[in-house]
Symmetry: C2
Subunit: 274 residues, 2 copies
Amino acid sequence: MTTATLSEFDQGIALTPHAAEPGRYDAELGAGWQIGGGVNGGLLLAVAGHALAQANGEHRDPLSISGYYLSASRPGPAAVRTETVRRGRTLTTATASLSQDGEERLRVLASYGDLGSLDDEVATSAQPPVMPPPEQCIGVEHAPKQLIEQAALLERFDLRLDPATVGWALGQPSGNGRIQGWFRLADGREPDPLLLLLVADALPPVTFDLGRPGWAPTIELTVHLRARPVPGWLRVSHATRNLAGGYFEEDCEVWDEAGRLVAQSRQLARAPRS
Amino acid sequence: MTTATLSEFDQGIALTPHAAEPGRYDAELGAGWQIGGGVNGGLLLAVAGHALAQANGEHRDPLSISGYYLSASRPGPAAVRTETVRRGRTLTTATASLSQDGEERLRVLASYGDLGSLDDEVATSAQPPVMPPPEQCIGVEHAPKQLIEQAALLERFDLRLDPATVGWALGQPSGNGRIQGWFRLADGREPDPLLLLLVADALPPVTFDLGRPGWAPTIELTVHLRARPVPGWLRVSHATRNLAGGYFEEDCEVWDEAGRLVAQSRQLARAPRS
């Protein structure tokens, strides 16, 4: 398959196995995935997660993946070195290290399995976020120009934010610490487990809704993938409840069109100044 | 200091730096920390977290720590090997590997800093769990005998569960997926950041409250430490909202007596059979 037939996301996470170094995969971080001067952390996690999917054989879905962000990434070449920690019957645990010019950007620890092989039972008590249909939500074309300029990656998303959680874009943050909306890729590429790693860090920082418009560097992001998403829209909610000491947590839920809670994530990030 | 002067917890996480291998610390996993046939996962995280605190110099508090559980631990000797990933100005990121007889039990990735140096601002919107005072809660002396027999570590805790969340002990689980209570160590040792790593996995599995009394092996546990706890009782809540496909998440909050949300954690665990 040539890159001409690949979606933007598949190009973004494309890997070349290194000829001489087993477990190493080379990537090219695209300028189109930038946000606030660096490459989006969710995209980086998807690149590292893709390398682990390649390395882990039949266990190709990240059931749990933790990324620790070490330095700001920039567009250009990157190397991902993977290492198996333990290969079990249902799970393979492994590490990945993403670096650029010898400087490590991201260290990942993850357990992979096969989401298709899981038990059919669904006893979820969580409810999907309530919001108007996509056509009544706010597209990024209405976002403040300053935001768009700093977030090239928004052009690759069809992101429709719930009007109830976009007061911050009009200078009226709700103070609730919640942003939610509908998500799909602009080029129509359907969701799969690796895309969910991007989605977990795709919305504007939830601190915007607390009246803090600056960027919020991620320290750590863990994503639990709980089911393969069906094609279609994803509903995504971000919320924080504990902004203190210069840090905050951001909890994310991703629901698919079948009404399944397909991913849950939490990150610890540095809070922008108020 | 001799072990005779150490609290049970400090004995439990005590380390001896290895004479010949830099970054290695030897530990002895005590039989008193067993639960359901293995050593408690929170205690293991505290042992590995203690080794990282020793290794990381001035950055001695785990701001974010992720543990991936690889095989069941048993009482006896254990080795913890630490390795620095990146040493920055405010954070040091490092890994730890805990093994017994050459078999790896737990792999940890963490970012350490100094909780005492954080910004004073507290803008937490979360509310502490509402429950009766400790003297009106249910001590473990009332727990089913079968539970106590399988959980030696309960004798080291002064754990008082909210009567509203202990119906499961009487055969009447609420189905809400929530267990909460007051926690302190039986020997009076006051809380600190390392103890919070134990507390994050100290309560009975929240699946008990869903009518599933079996043990729930942890796949992954990430703890965010947000402030040093003051002396006294801790309020701890565990909740799950997504039991599906044979797995569930368990979210934990730990509040100190000053009313501060000092730790938030989430784990992914295998669900017991219903």
